[in-house]
């Protein structure tokens, strides 16, 4: 592992310029950099693996009732009426609420705010350049069901079984309407309209880059390579299905929601708007979360429904999704159709890139993050001087899509890295040499790409060399021969990647030295397996020089955590680490002040070392806990709170290699090797970063190999409704990973962090695809659509006219 010396020019610390020179921040940074990088085992694992986690469904309240949803079996149907009489008469049924009740009670749509809005996000607009229509997301619809699984009524009963039974007796009079589910098909003329407001379904149409210049380069370029891809739809498949327990307190007029999510603060803010109350009337608690991957970042209608139903019946209401409901109505991921073209000169230098990306958001627009993120990265890791992109989004009669682990980046990485392979094949270049020739050199950093994204730092060619070495690229021929001796076809795939991490810009940290000798840190991120309780404790412990075991991270209760962007887009360590560093510096400032008072000296005469405040040049010293205790009477609790806002994105990057064996008789693909180099910026806990990388790889490989939310176009019916129909990565179909962390310090934040949660996923789709195509290339196969199931591969082998050489 390399560890370049921290070299953060104060000018680069655009958000923290003033703090950049404070002696305390220098101190905490120095302390942190001395200690971080230790592979400390996760504090939370014992609790989580011994059944002591606090997941949403673990919470129960006295008098609690249970909700079940009545869901549409049709992809598109007008709701002519809902007859609840029979169901209401069933045992234990307390209430049944429909879309009409939602309107009658004046509830508002979920304010999804889907258009990414930081200064660094690509600006997506409606076709006329204005604000896009996103499709109001009421808790229940009154007019139409717009996808299979859409909740059209909620039944609340004394028991869960009674609620489910009664839901079955709710008679909904549907008038079936023409439907459209396919991404490309929805943008075709004559497709069924999901919303009357957007008859042609295309609600986003934005062009980026210099089209005239791009077209001119293409017109005169020696070579042009083109390809179309569909990065299909997947679902997050969290281990813990989503659940919510809502309670309304008549006396205080407050709503309380227990619901695991990607960040309780967003849930609180948006749900208060749905309910039409001030934000402080809603409290959201989100403790342990059994998987998120993006699917839980946004508000689900069921969260609002249990709160509202609780107010209506005066008792708490709990909803826990079944796995079937999760398949239908968890926010899904990806689903991008991309047409890309690359212009090259006679030497293989990339001249220009042109792309047309079409994102399927489902029945309503919850998030445009995938389209926006991808738009900024269409040129990938390569120096392509000119590029132009058309980015569109369509409504369809499918479940809404959301940012899914590495939102938008695996899609564009797939497009550029496949295109590079095709260019090499068509024009006779070596694929690796073609990449090298066009990689962005380290000397060009920070690099502004053709659509305006500024890559902060990175050593792309070094990543490439490094991964080639650890994967023993040069020894491939011997392994291939060995596989062939067993009748197997061996293939190898390579990909470079660069991605962006932006995320919600605001974060807040509160640090308090408690009387019981512990340090309490309140932070607004939300782990769902990322180990914040360990890595954040590690950061704070190092910075204020106390043992890690004494630091406790508090998160997930909006009565305690007032600000916080949650965990997404690789933002947590960067945002939380930065604001914790600032808060720690504040704490040390406050500590020096108090120590100066205590020892009756000037603040300038107090230094902080090894957890002690000392009077310089004397043996007078006091540790931070004793200081907190002794000055509590005079100064109050030793406690600081700090807000921070950072907009500047960082660009994690790296390279990946996959080796596969294909059984030509059955088409079965076995992944036999997987190596990565991931530049995560400064690495706080390599154990956790490696764990994140491994999980990220599995998630990307899952989409490449097995995962698909199949929808039958003729009927609009989702066909993947259980784990019998939806293949997942498992320990027995994954190889051991060979991963190394590159630490090229980012100049954009005081700790030099990039991100480590998504880099495993970003190149995985295309790396696996490249490997499988390489394995069967002798059959004339040059393209394969994911997922690379045995049937897909077998068909490709058998449909080719060629026999292996």
């Amino acid at each position: 592992m390399t560890r370049p010396t921290p070299d953060i020019s104060p000018a680069a610390l655009n958000d923290v310029r003033q703090e950049g020179n404070s002696p305390e921040l220098d101190l905490v940074r120095k302390a942190l950099f001395q200690h971080v990088g230790k592979p400390i085992p996760r504090k939370e694992d014992r609790r989580l693996t011994t059944g002591k986690g606090r997941f949403s469904d673990d919470f129960s309240l006295p008098g609690q009732t249970y909700a079940a949803m009545v869901r549409s079996p049709y992809p598109h149907a007008r709701i002519l009426g809902i007859d609840t009489a029979d169901a209401l008469a069933m045992p234990g049924v307390l209430t049944i609420l429909t879309g009409q009740d939602v309107r009658d009670d004046g509830l508002l749509p979920v304010p999804h705010n889907p258009v990414p809005s930081t200064n660094f996000d690509m600006k997506l607009t409606a076709p006329d350049g204005g604000i896009p229509f996103i499709g109001p997301h009421y808790l229940l619809p009154t007019d139409k069901a717009r996808h299979v699984g859409e909740a059209v009524a909620i039944v609340v009963a004394e028991t869960s079984a009674q609620a489910v039974d009664a839901a079955e007796q709710v008679m909904v009079d549907y008038e079936e309407l023409p439907h459209i589910t396919g991404t490309a098909a929805a943008a075709e003329p004559g497709a069924a309209s999901v919303w009357d407001e957007v008859p042609d379904n295309v609600f986003i149409d934005t062009k980026f880059g210099d089209w005239a210049a791009t077209d001119a380069v293409f017109a005169s370029a020696r070579h042009v390579v083109r390809a179309d891809f569909h990065i299909d739809r997947v679902t997050a498949m969290t281990l813990e299905p989503r659940a919510a327990l809502g309670s309304f307190d008549e006396e205080t007029g407050r709503y309380t929601l227990y619901a695991g999510s990607g960040g309780a603060v967003r849930q609180k803010g948006e749900l208060s708007k749905v309910l039409g109350v001030e934000a402080d009337r809603v409290r959201v608690l989100s403790f342990d979360v059994g998987g998120n991957f993006g699917a839980r970042n946004r508000v689900y209608v069921e969260f609002g429904l249990v709160l509202w139903a609780s107010r209506r019946i005066g008792r708490p209401v709990k909803f826990t999704a079944t796995r079937s409901e999760a398949f239908l109505t968890d926010y899904q991921g990806r689903d991008l159709v991309t047409k890309v073209e690359l212009a090259l000169d006679e030497n293989g230098k990339f001249l220009a890139l042109r792309a047309d990306n079409l994102s399927n958001v489902g029945a309503r627009c919850v998030s445009l993050s995938p389209l926006s993120k991808g738009s900024g990265l269409i040129t990938g890791s390569y120096d392509i001087p000119i590029a132009a992109l058309r980015a569109r989004a369509v409504f369809t009669n499918t479940m809404c899509t959301q940012a899914y682990r590495s939102s938008g980046r695996p899609e564009v990485t797939y497009a550029i890295e496949r295109l590079v392979e095709l260019a090499a094949l068509e024009l006779g270049f070596d694929p690796l040499e073609l990449r090298r020739k066009n990689l962005i050199p380290e000397s060009a950093m920070p690099y502004t790409n053709a659509v305006g994204s500024i890559y902060d730092s990175g050593q792309y060619e070094k990543n490439m060399d490094w991964v080639l070495r650890i994967a023993d690229w040069d020894g491939f021929d011997a392994r291939k021969a060995q596989s062939a001796s067993r009748g197997k076809l061996r293939g190898r795939g390579f990909a470079n990647y660069v991605e962006s991490s932006i995320g919600s810009p605001r974060e807040r940290a509160e640090i308090e030295i408690k009387l019981d000798g512990t340090v309490e840190v309140v932070i607004g991120t939300q782990p769902s397996g990322q180990g914040h309780e360990t890595s954040f404790a590690q950061v704070v412990a190092d910075m204020i020089q106390v043992p890690v075991a004494k630091v406790w991270i508090v998160l997930g209760d909006t009565d305690i955590v007032s600000v916080g962007g949650g965990s997404h887009s690789g933002r947590s360590m960067r945002h939380a680490g930065t604001v914790m560093a600032m808060a720690a510096a504040d704490l040390l400032t406050e500590g020096r002040k108090r120590a100066a008072d205590l020892f009756d000296t000037e603040m300038s005469g107090i230094e902080f070392e090894s957890g002690y405040f000392k009077v310089t040049g004397t043996n007078k010293a006091i540790d931070i806990f004793a200081l907190g205790e002794q000055t509590r009477g005079t100064h109050g609790p030793l406690r600081v709170a700090r807000n921070n806002e950072m907009h500047t994105p960082v660009y994690p990057n790296g390279a990946a290699i996959c080796e596969v064996e294909v059984d030509p008789e059955t088409g079965l693909v076995t992944i036999v090797g997987y190596s990565t180099i991931d530049d995560v910026g400064r690495c706080i806990n390599p154990l956790i970063v490696h764990g994140q990388t491994h999980g990220g790889i599995a998630q990307g490989v899952g989409q490449a190999m097995w995962e698909l939310c199949a929808i039958e176009p003729e009927t609009g019916q989702p066909l993947a409704g259980s784990l019998m129909d939806y293949g997942m990565p498992r320990s027995d179909n994954m190889p051991f990973f060979n991963c190394e962390i590159a630490e090229v310090i980012s100049p954009t934040n005081p700790l030099g962090i990039k991100a480590g949660g998504e880099g495993g996923t970003t190149p995985a789709l295309v790396t696996v695809t490249n490997a499988v195509i390489d394995a069967v290339k002798d059959f004339g196969v040059t393209n394969l659509a994911m997922p690379l199931t045995p049937f897909t591969v077998w068909k490709a082998i058998h449909q080719s006219n060629r026999h292996p050489a």
Partner: protein, 199 residues
């Protein structure tokens, strides 16, 4: 989805035709059918409880007959709704061909086109073929048992036809794929009795 199949039945065509148009016979022969009303002219409505893989549901189905050409062919079309289990809709063309021969055999051919939705589609699609095959097998077994009874009995009869020996080989699977239906088909079939169902 589309399901095709045929059965060779050891009975004259007129007799087979009569049976598959008799609501009482249909009610007895359709597996899981606890109610079937109607006439060939007005159409049938039926309630059938069945289980397709993990999805167990009671379907309320209604079918109508068209293109009725006794004793040779008709078209069944209809829809079955199974609440949260989903729905099935579609139709089936049923054809009876007189094969003559010593045993006076009739070849019944069906061709079902159906759509399923909801949980049936998400969880049951993989299982519909095999379920339909099983239900069709039971239906034919029951039908043959009915033929062995001298005459359709009134409602007081114990519906035990399915317990009679499995047809002493009276219904034989024709060569080739047998098969059938799908969940929906089941509903429709039930309703129709013909055998097939629809999916």
């Amino acid at each position: 989805m589309e399901i095709k199949g045929e059965y060779l039945i050891d009975a004259p065509r007129e007799k087979v035709w009569a049976l598959i148009n008799d609501p009482d016979v249909l009610a007895k022969c359709i597996p899981g059918c606890d109610d079937l009303q109607g006439t060939p002219e007005e159409g049938f409505s039926a309630r059938v409880t069945t289980k397709i893989g993990p999805v167990k549901a009671t379907f309320n189905g209604a079918v109508t007959l068209s293109n009725v050409n006794p004793p040779e062919s008709y078209t069944i079309s209809g829809e079955g709704k199974g609440g949260v289990a989903g729905f099935a809709k579609g139709g089936a063309d049923v054809l009876l061909v007189d094969e003559g021969g010593a045993g006076q055999q009739t070849r019944l051919t069906y061709n079902v086109k159906a759509q399923v939705g909801g949980k049936l589609a998400q969880l049951g699609s993989r299982l519909i073929d095999s379920t339909a095959k099983k239900l069709a097998g039971e239906f034919f077994t029951n039908l043959v048992a009915q033929m062995e009874e001298p005459a359709p009995q009134e409602n007081d009869a114990d519906v035990s036809a399915s317990q009679s020996p499995a047809g002493s080989g009276a219904a034989k699977r024709s060569t080739g794929r047998t098969v059938l239906l799908t969940g929906v088909a089941i509903v429709i079939v039930a309703a129709l009795a013909a055998m097939m169902l629809g999916h």
